[in-house]
Structure formats: structure tokens, C-alpha cells
């Protein structure tokens, strides 16, 4: 098997919420509540889930934009979860991020050339002509032209802006890119352009992606393995084909059946989930999915199921497969 690039062990992130007079009584939003996974070199791990499930927070912890409350992140075997700031900066060469909103994540006062060159400036890896040359290279790599370097972000369309964001992320030859909903803000005809670009870059540069999205079809298309999150936990993680062909967790089954299929001949039987996602500040006892689960048993109401390997390479956190 390929080499492990990053390993997350039992990551937790609790955000404090002040309550009561003078904010003395503290409670916590458990945004991420015990997440473990690993990403291998050159692979794409997809992370899917609905809003509030903690997938973006997980991405930000991996990037060390947030410090985990508990748990460990190993990058190339080294624990990075408690690194001091000056060492973090070195690490950021290897870990880069692409954001959802290409309108908000590019500085409107900088030219595209300056935006892409900024990581090179910050990390002092290239200066003068060399830097300009690298910017040209990057622009061409993502399918833009070198004359675009002197323009401003507002002159570009959404898809082109996302290409700029990708070029910036690639500037320092990273090994892992955390892409948080990179195509969600784009029109469908543009989405496929950006997805294809990301796949080409992966092949060419041997990148690993942590691809975070709510769109199950997009995640299926781009990922090698997929993790499904619900209320701060991974409920199921497996090779893509295993997960989509044979989802084990009742939540994954419901999620997959809820996706509308672009084929009018298929009127599929749908598992309609009752109710809404509970609040992460007050998650249900036991398995957090049990109030909406049709296979709920007594044990589910009291005991949190562990993520266990129910079939080779196929992990599920559900008492049905205990």
C-alpha cells in the first residue's frame, strides 16, 4: 500500500459558547468529536456530510488553521498538532488549501500575479525573475495565460477565479491540498472544468487531496476513498466503490437514496429521514443518529458505536455491524 501522508487520530474540536450571566456558565459546541482517518500519498479522500457535520472544521484542523482540542495529527510520521507558530509556517509549504468562495478568497486589491506570488514572497523561496517565471508556470499549469498576471480578480469569472486559487495553492509544491467545497459555488458547466483540472494536476504532481463537499456525486467522481460525517463523527469510511455500492451505515444509505438522479426513468425508492440534524451543542445520547434511524435498537440510545472494520477496508460506526 502507498505511503501514509497524514494521519488524524481521535481529533476533537469543541467551541466554547458562553451562557448565563457574565458568560460564566460554559457549554461547548462539539463541532468535531473524535475523528480518525489517514490520507495516503497521491490519493483523494472525500469527506461528505450535511451542513454542521464538522467536515469543514476537520479540514481546518488538518491545515492547523484551528488547533484541535484533543487528538493528534501526524504528517509524514511527525506530530503536528502542537507545533509552535514558527514551525507551522514551514509546514504550510506542504499543506495548502483551496476555498469554496472564489469571490471572497482572493484579495481584490492585488493583481493575479501578486496573489499567486504571495506564498513565494512569504516563504522567500523565489525572488525577481525566478518568481515571475514561477508565476507564469503556475498560470499555465491551471489553464490560464501569462498575460492574466497583470489583471485583478474581479475581471475573472468564477471558474477562472477558482483556477487562480488553485495556482496559489500549488505555488510552494505542496503534498496535500485541502479543498473545501471547491466547486460548490460554480455553475455545472464550469464545475466539470475545475474537477478535470484537479484530477490532471493530481496525476502530474502526485498531490493528495482532502476533498470536502456536500455533493455526493462530485465526491464519488473525484475520490479514491470516502468518509461520511454526521454530527462531528465519521460514521462510515471505505473505498469509494465499496461505499457507494454497498453503504452499511443507515445514515449513508439514507444520504445516497436522497440524491436526485438525473434520469427521469429512475423513480427510486427513497429513504426519507424524519426530522432535522440535532444541534452539535446538545447531541443525542448514544449514537447521535439514533433519533432519525429506522434500525434503532436499545443499545444505540445509550452507547456510542465505535468505528470498526466491518469488512476489509470498510469501517462503520454502527451497532448493527458490531
Amino acid at each position: 500500500m502507498a505511503e501514509q501522508l497524514i494521519e488524524a487520530k481521535n481529533l476533537k474540536k469543541y467551541f466554547p459558547v458562553n451562557k448565563g450571566l457574565f458568560g460564566r456558565k460554559k457549554s461547548y459546541v462539539r463541532a468535531v468529536d473524535g475523528v480518525s482517518f489517514s490520507i495516503f500519498k497521491g490519493e483523494t479522500l472525500g469527506l461528505v456530510g450535511e451542513s454542521g457535520c464538522g467536515k469543514s472544521t476537520t479540514g481546518r484542523i488538518i491545515m492547523r488553521l484551528l488547533a484541535p482540542t484533543e487528538g493528534e495529527i501526524r504528517f509524514n510520521g511527525k506530530d503536528i498538532s502542537r507545533l509552535p507558530d514558527h514551525q507551522l509556517r514551514e509546514l504550510r509549504k506542504e499543506l495548502q488549501m483551496v476555498f469554496q468562495d472564489p469571490y471572497a478568497s482572493l484579495n481584490p486589491r492585488m493583481t493575479v500575479g501578486e496573489i499567486i506570488a504571495e506564498p513565494l514572497v512569504v516563504h522567500r523561496t523565489a525572488t525577481g525573475k525566478e518568481r515571475d517565471k514561477r508565476v507564469q508556470e503556475l498560470l499555465e499549469l491551471v489553464g490560464l495565460s501569462s498575460y492574466h498576471a497583470n489583471r485583478y480578480a474581479h475581471e475573472f469569472s468564477g471558474g477562472q477565479r477558482q483556477r487562480i486559487g488553485i495556482a496559489r495553492a500549488l505555488a510552494l509544491h505542496p503534498k496535500l491540498i485541502v479543498a473545501d467545497e471547491p466547486v460548490s459555488a460554480l455553475d455545472v458547466s464550469i464545475q466539470s472544468q475545475v474537477l478535470n483540472l484537479m484530477q490532471d494536476l493530481q496525476k502530474e504532481l502526485g498531490l493528495a487531496y482532502l476533498f470536502i463537499s456536500h455533493d455526493l456525486s462530485v465526491v464519488e467522481h473525484i475520490s479514491d476513498r470516502v468518509g461520511v460525517m454526521y454530527l462531528g463523527r465519521i460514521v462510515e469510511i471505505a473505498e469509494k466503490d465499496d461505499l457507494y455500492d454497498k453503504p452499511l451505515h443507515p445514515y449513508t444509505q439514507a444520504l445516497l437514496s436522497a440524491v436526485p438522479v438525473a434520469d427521469p426513468r429512475i423513480r427510486k425508492e427513497r429513504i426519507i429521514l424524519e426530522g432535522d440534524i440535532p444541534s452539535p451543542s446538545n447531541p443525542p445520547q448514544g449514537c447521535s443518529f439514533h433519533p432519525r434511524c429506522k434500525s434503532c435498537m436499545d443499545i444505540c440510545k445509550t452507547t456510542v458505536p465505535e468505528l470498526k472494520e466491518s469488512e476489509p477496508g470498510h469501517f462503520t460506526a454502527c451497532h448493527l455491524y458490531g
Partner: protein
């Protein structure tokens, strides 16, 4: 079932801005039969939302104006109606639900008062009767604890619940036509499934016609009887839902269908449409899709094709099929 409830002909809605005239809707023709669900598909800026706002005559507070065309609804010419008459139709015979349920509900009024307003205005119910009607509607759209929710405020509800409130409000006067502009785009998939299920049920029970505006082809396939594909302010293709998905004719429709990843269809590489959607201020001459079209011919860059019938119930705006017609004729 061939009664046309809504018929739009050559609708042109332009926005008059400081930087000039922007033709957002530039000659739209479409119709909706009674009890039918029509899907309007297209990417951002294609004019699908402006079309619906034109029908509702909700452009008064924007720089937009309908400059040409006609909109006929149940025998009435909506564009020439006085505003007072239009107010009787809006919310009563044609109702609308929007993408963002939070911004479409008034945060300082209770749920019951907001839904009740339409009922009291249009159905002339008194306060008590209106409240009963509201509770009945809330139950219909599957809201638990309806008797309590009536007295709550929108912020106390989740996104899916708010969208149910919007649907309850829209359906409370039993409209003949429901315009739903991206009704599930802001919702999670499991909640989307609930809302689509509800809309389908309401349509079957009450025979409401639905104009469903969306960019999600999956939603179209599941909900619609007929589909209109828009590009750059015009209808480029119109057909029943099976023809659109199985026998798409316009290169744009084909490109759109090929560029979406589909569950369990192992596609190595997605096809994509090169280039970008043209901005309204920067329209190409001739066919608006020609610069991105792999079949573009010389004629496409010079002339604009018409929306012509190519088969029964199937219309397409493309020269590829018009030569065939010319040969036959």
C-alpha cells in the same frame, strides 16, 4: 390536459443601469399547462429568475422593466392589468417560493401572522378562521406541533422547516400556479428529499401547476413533466423530460448533461463546456452559444437561430436542425 394556464410570448425584460441596457431576458417563449410541472434549467445569469419575477410583476423596485412580449395567465394579460388587480392574483392565483427561506420570511412577525396575512387578504377570512386555516396548512406540509409553531418566529426554526413554512404560505390560498425558484438549493440533501416529496404530494392532491426553476438536473429529472433550457436570456430547447435527458438536441443541453457527475456511472473524465457564460453586456453576435459550441458553423456566428419545432413537443434553437427542416421543405 391541453389547457395552457400560463403562456409567455417573446418576453423581453431589460435592466436599465448606469452602464447601459442589460437584456436579462431576451425573447422568452414558454407555456405551462394546468397541473403540469415545468422545469426551467440554466446557469446563473441565463434569465430564469428574471422570467419568473416578470410573471409576478415583482420588478418594480429594480431597474428592470418588461419592454416587450406578453404574459397570459388564465385568459388574462398580466402585463396590462392594473396593479390593484395584480395584487389579487399575486399570492392568490400565482404564488411563489424563493431559494432563501430565511430572507423571504419577516423576522419580526410570528409564523401564524405571516401565513394568515394572505389568507385574510385573499380569502377574506376573519382572524379566528385564518388561524385555523394556518394550522391546517402547517399540518399539511408536515410541521410537527403546528398549534405551537403558529406563535413562533422564523428564527426558531431550521432551514427545512422554514422552507415548509414558505410552501404552506404559498399553498394557503390554493393557487393555480406555484413558482418555485431554486426551492431546495439552500437545503441539505436529506432535507431536499423531504421538500421535493412534499411538493410532489401537494401537486398530486391539488393539481397545482408548478414552474420549477433550478440548476440541478437531478431535481428536474425527478419532478418535472416538461423542461425548458435557457441560455443567455433565451430558451434554447424545450421538450418533455424524457426527451431532454435521452434525446437532447441542442449542443448546450448535451454539454450540460455530460458535464455532471452521476452517481454510480463510473466516468473517468467529465466532459466540459469550454469557456464561460457570456455576460449580458458582452453578448456575441449570432447564436449566443456559438463561441463555446463544438458544432459551430459560419452561419452560427452571423445569424441567430429561431426556436423551431423539430419533433412533436420538442423545440430547439439551433441551426444544426434547421437545415434538415429546410431540406425537407
Amino acid at each position: 390536459m391541453d389547457n395552457k394556464l400560463l403562456e409567455i410570448e417573446n418576453l423581453k425584460t431589460y435592466f436599465f443601469t448606469d452602464s447601459g441596457r442589460v437584456p436579462a431576458v431576451n425573447g422568452v417563449d414558454l407555456f405551462i399547462r394546468e397541473g403540469e410541472t415545468l422545469g426551467i434549467v440554466g446557469e446563473s445569469g441565463c434569465g430564469k429568475s428574471v422570467t419568473s419575477l416578470s410573471v409576478m410583476r415583482l420588478l418594480a423596485h429594480t431597474p428592470g422593466r418588461v419592454v416587450d412580449g406578453s404574459i397570459r395567465f388564465a385568459g388574462m394579460d398580466l402585463l396590462s392589468l392594473p396593479e390593484s388587480k395584480m395584487r389579487e392574483i399575486r399570492g392568490n392565483e400565482i404564488a411563489m417560493i424563493f431559494q432563501e427561506p430565511m430572507t423571504s420570511l419577516n423576522p419580526v412577525y410570528k409564523i401564524g401572522d405571516q401565513i394568515g396575512e394572505a389568507v385574510r387578504l385573499h380569502l377574506k377570512y376573519d382572524k379566528k378562521k385564518a388561524r385555523e386555516r394556518v394550522i391546517q396548512m402547517l399540518k399539511l406540509v408536515g410541521i410537527p406541533r403546528a398549534e405551537e409553531i403558529v406563535d413562533e418566529y422564523p428564527h426558531q426554526l431550521s432551514g427545512g422547516m422554514r422552507q415548509r413554512i414558505m410552501i404552506a404560505m404559498a399553498m394557503s390560498c390554493e393557487p393555480k400556479l406555484l413558482i418555485a425558484d431554486e426551492p431546495t438549493t439552500a437545503l441539505d440533501v436529506t432535507i431536499q428529499a423531504q421538500i421535493l416529496d412534499l411538493m410532489r404530494k401537494l401537486k398530486e392532491e391539488r393539481g397545482t401547476a408548478i414552474m420549477l426553476i433550478t440548476h440541478d438536473l437531478g431535481v428536474v429529472a425527478e419532478m418535472c413533466d416538461r423542461v425548458v433550457v435557457m441560455y443567455a436570456g433565451k430558451v434554447v430547447e424545450e421538450a418533455d423530460v424524457f426527451d431532454i435527458f435521452e434525446n437532447p438536441k441542442h449542443p448546450y443541453t448535451q454539454g450540460l448533461l455530460h458535464s455532471i457527475p452521476k452517481l454510480r456511472r463510473k466516468t473517468e473524465r467529465l466532459q466540459s463546456i469550454p469557456g464561460n457564460v457570456p455576460t449580458p453586456g458582452n453578448m456575441p453576435s449570432g447564436c449566443k452559444f456559438a463561441p463555446r459550441c463544438s458544432h459551430a458553423m459560419d452561419v452560427c456566428r452571423e445569424q441567430e437561430p429561431d426556436l423551431l419545432q423539430i419533433a412533436s413537443g420538442h423545440r430547439c434553437r439551433c441551426f444544426l436542425y434547421q437545415n434538415d427542416l429546410a431540406k425537407e421543405a
